[in-house]
C-alpha cells in the first residue's frame, strides 16, 4: 500500500530516534491512531514489517490497548471525556447536546461519514472541565454555545 509521504517521513524519523526497531512499536501504532483516528489493518502490517515484530502480536496489541482503536471512524472524531471531574462539571449536558445535534450516540458515525462520537477516559484537563477532544485538539471549559460552534465548523 502507498502511504502519504508525511507519514513515511515521520515513520523514518521515529525509527531514526530509537536504538532498536522494536522500541518504536507503540510509537508507530500511536502515529497511525493520531493520523487516522484508528489503526487500519494495512498500517498494522506496515508497522510489523518495519519493527520486525510478528503481525499477529501487533494486531492483538491494537485490539487490546486502551489508547488504540481497531475500527474505522468518520472524517472527524469527537471524543467526550468520561472522567469524574468532567461529569461533575456538566459533561452529561454536553453529551446530550452533542447527541441531539448529531443524531447519533456513543461509537456511532453520522450517516454522511462526517463525525464519529466517542467516549474517552480522563483527558487530564480536570480543572477546566467539561472538555472535549476533536481529532487531536482539546477544547476546555465548554459551554453549550461553544459546543454548537465547534461542531458546526467540522466539515
Amino acid at each position: 500500500m502507498e502511504w502519504p509521504r508525511e507519514i513515511t517521513e515521520e515513520c523514518t524519523r521515529v525509527m531514526g530516534t530509537v536504538a532498536v526497531p522494536r522500541t518504536a512499536l507503540l510509537t508507530l501504532l500511536d502515529l497511525g491512531q493520531r493520523r487516522w483516528g484508528w489503526v487500519p489493518p494495512a498500517w498494522i502490517e506496515y508497522v510489523a514489517s518495519v519493527t520486525d515484530v510478528h503481525p499477529a502480536r501487533v494486531r492483538s496489541l491494537t485490539a487490546s490497548l486502551p489508547g488504540l482503536r481497531d475500527e474505522p471512524v468518520g472524517r472527524h472524531t469527537v471524543a467526550l471525556c468520561a472522567g469524574l471531574a468532567c461529569r461533575l462539571m456538566g459533561a452529561r449536558s454536553v453529551a446530550d447536546r452533542v447527541m441531539e445535534l448529531l443524531g447519533i450516540t456513543w461509537d456511532e458515525t453520522t450517516p454522511d461519514g462526517r463525525i464519529t462520537l466517542l467516549r474517552k477516559d480522563c483527558q487530564g484537563a480536570c480543572s477546566t472541565a467539561p472538555v472535549m477532544q476533536v481529532d487531536e485538539r482539546l477544547y476546555t471549559a465548554l459551554t453549550l454555545e461553544r459546543v454548537e460552534q465547534i461542531l458546526a465548523a467540522l466539515r
Binding site: R22, G67, T128, L138
Partner: protein, 439 residues
C-alpha cells in the same frame, strides 16, 4: 491559613518559559552546567539521596534506591491517564526545560548515556512542547545529539505509549520499550539487559532545584520523612480548581480545599473528596482534618489514617453527587484499563463495575451491596497492600470500592432497597470563579 510554597511551579506563569532562551534567562541549566563542569557525578546522587526526594507519582519511594547508583539508562514514566490527575502534563507543557534539566542531571549523576521518555498518548500537547524543547536542548548541548550520548550528556528518546493505566508501571514501561506487550510482569528492572532507572516525570522537575540549592534547603520544606512539596491537582465542585503546590504537612486536606480553592461552590455543601484518584481514597466531610503528608496515611507511610494519599490529586464533590454513580464510573474505568494479567484485577474490576452499574440503574438484585463487599475482600485480602496485582490497579480498585461502600453505605443500601437514586443530581454545566494554572 494554608498558603502555597512553589518549587516546581515557581516559574510556571512566566509566559515563554517553555522556550530555552527564557528558561536560561531565569537561571535555567545553570545547575547542570556547574555540575558537569566540576565535581564527580556521584555528588549529584548524594545530593538527591540526602534531600530525601521521593517519587511523587504515588509510591513515595526514594528516587534512587540505596542498593545501586550506576545505571546504563534512565527511563521516564510520563504517563497520566487516571481521573483527576493533570499535574505532570502541565509541568511538561509549561516548563519542559525544567524537566529536561532534571533528566540530564539524573542521567549525569548515575552515568546513563541514554534516556527514554515514555509519554502516554493522552498527553499530546505535552509531547509536542517537549519535542520542541528537546530540539533546543540538543542544539545547545544540554543533551546529546542522535547517537552521541555520553555519560556527561545523555541521548534522549521520546516514545509514545497508548497502554493506559498499567503502562506507567516500571516493568510494563520496560516491556513496552523492548517491543513486548506493555503489561506489568515480574522482570528485572533492566532495559536491553542492562540496569535501568525508572522515574516519574513530575519527580524529575525537582532535581534542578535540589541540586542547585542543596539538600539542606529542600529538607527545610515539608516533613522530616517526606521533604518538599506536593503539587495538588484540585478539580470538581470548588470555586477555584487548578494546581496548588503546598509544602507536605503544612496543612490538612480541609485547609487546602477551603484556603486555596475557596471551598465548595455557593449554596452547596461538601459531600465527598476523592484523594489520589484511582490509587487513593474516598473521604467524607468528617475526614477532612487529615494532614497532607504521606506519613499520616496508611499508604504509603503506615500512618493512622486508613487510606492512601497516592499522588495527592483532589476531586471535590458536593451534595448533588450520587456516590453510586461515581463508584460505578470509576470501577468501569478500572475494568476498561485492566490489562487482564492478574486474575483479581481482571475479574474483580469487571465484577464491581457490573454490580455498581446495576445499583445505579435501579436494577439491583437483593444482596448486591453485600456481593460488592465480598468481591473487594476477595480482590485484596484483608485490604492490605499485598501484591494482589502487579501494577496495583486491582488492589487500588478494591480499596477504593471498599471506601465507597464503608463511607457511603447508606446511599448504596438505598439504591438497592428502593431501586432509585435518593440524590438531587445536578448535570448542568458549572463555571468556576477562576482556575489556578490554566490550560
Amino acid at each position: 491559613m494554608m498558603r502555597e510554597t512553589r518549587i516546581v511551579l515557581r516559574d510556571i506563569d512566566i509566559p515563554d518559559i517553555d522556550r530555552l532562551e527564557s528558561y536560561v534567562l531565569h537561571g535555567g541549566y545553570e545547575t547542570l552546567d556547574r555540575r558537569r563542569g566540576s565535581g564527580p557525578p556521584r555528588a549529584v546522587v548524594e545530593e538527591v539521596r540526602a534531600s530525601g526526594l521521593c517519587a511523587r507519582h504515588g509510591s513515595w519511594r526514594p528516587v534512587i534506591d540505596a542498593g545501586r547508583e550506576r545505571f546504563q539508562r534512565v527511563c521516564v514514566s510520563a504517563h497520566e491517564c487516571a481521573p483527576g490527575v493533570f499535574r505532570q502534563r502541565k509541568l511538561l507543557e509549561r516548563n519542559p526545560h525544567q524537566f529536561l534539566e532534571g533528566l540530564a542531571l539524573l542521567a549525569y549523576g548515575v552515568g546513563a548515556c541514554e534516556a527514554y521518555v515514555s509519554l502516554s498518548s493522552t498527553m499530546r500537547k505535552a509531547g509536542q512542547v517537549l519535542s520542541r524543547a528537546l530540539e533546543e536542548a540538543r542544539a545547545a548541548g544540554w543533551v546529546a545529539a542522535s547517537g552521541a550520548g555520553s555519560d556527561t550528556a545523555p541521548e534522549v528518546h521520546l516514545v509514545w505509549s497508548p497502554a493506559g493505566y498499567p503502562g506507567a508501571e516500571p516493568s510494563a514501561l520496560l516491556n513496552g520499550l523492548e517491543g513486548e506487550r506493555p503489561d506489568p510482569s515480574l522482570r528485572p528492572l533492566e532495559l536491553f539487559e542492562e540496569p535501568a532507572l525508572v522515574v516519574d516525570g513530575d519527580t524529575l522537575a525537582y532535581l534542578p532545584h535540589i541540586v542547585g540549592r542543596g539538600a539542606e534547603w529542600f529538607r527545610s520544606v515539608g516533613t522530616a520523612r517526606y521533604p518538599g512539596t506536593c503539587v495538588c491537582c484540585v478539580s470538581g465542585h470548588v470555586r477555584r480548581p487548578g494546581l496548588y503546590e503546598v509544602a507536605l504537612g503544612s496543612g490538612t486536606l480541609g485547609e487546602l480545599i477551603e484556603d486555596c480553592t475557596g471551598g465548595v461552590r455557593a449554596q452547596h455543601s461538601l459531600k465527598a473528596v476523592l484523594v489520589g484518584g484511582i490509587g487513593g481514597s474516598i473521604l467524607s466531610p468528617s475526614q477532612l482534618d487529615v494532614p497532607l503528608a504521606p506519613e499520616d496515611w496508611a499508604l504509603p507511610g503506615q500512618g493512622v489514617f486508613p487510606g492512601s494519599l497516592n499522588d495527592g490529586s483532589v476531586v471535590v464533590m458536593d451534595d448533588t453527587t450520587c456516590m453510586v454513580q461515581t463508584a460505578a464510573e470509576l470501577m468501569d474505568y478500572c475494568a476498561r484499563q485492566s490489562c487482564g494479567v492478574c486474575p483479581g484485577c481482571r475479574a474483580g474490576t469487571r465484577g464491581l463495575a457490573v454490580l455498581f452499574a446495576r445499583l445505579e440503574a435501579g436494577r439491583a438484585e437483593p444482596g448486591d451491596v453485600g456481593r460488592a463487599r465480598d468481591l473487594c475482600a476477595g480482590m485484596a485480602p484483608f485490604l492490605h497492600d499485598d501484591e494482589v496485582s502487579l501494577c496495583g490497579l486491582g488492589t487500588a480498585a478494591a480499596w477504593l470500592a471498599h471506601g465507597f461502600l464503608s463511607g457511603f453505605g447508606d446511599e448504596f443500601a438505598a439504591h438497592e432497597r428502593e431501586g432509585r437514586c435518593p440524590v438531587n443530581r445536578d448535570d448542568s454545566i458549572k463555571v468556576p470563579e477562576t482556575i489556578s494554572v490554566r490550560f
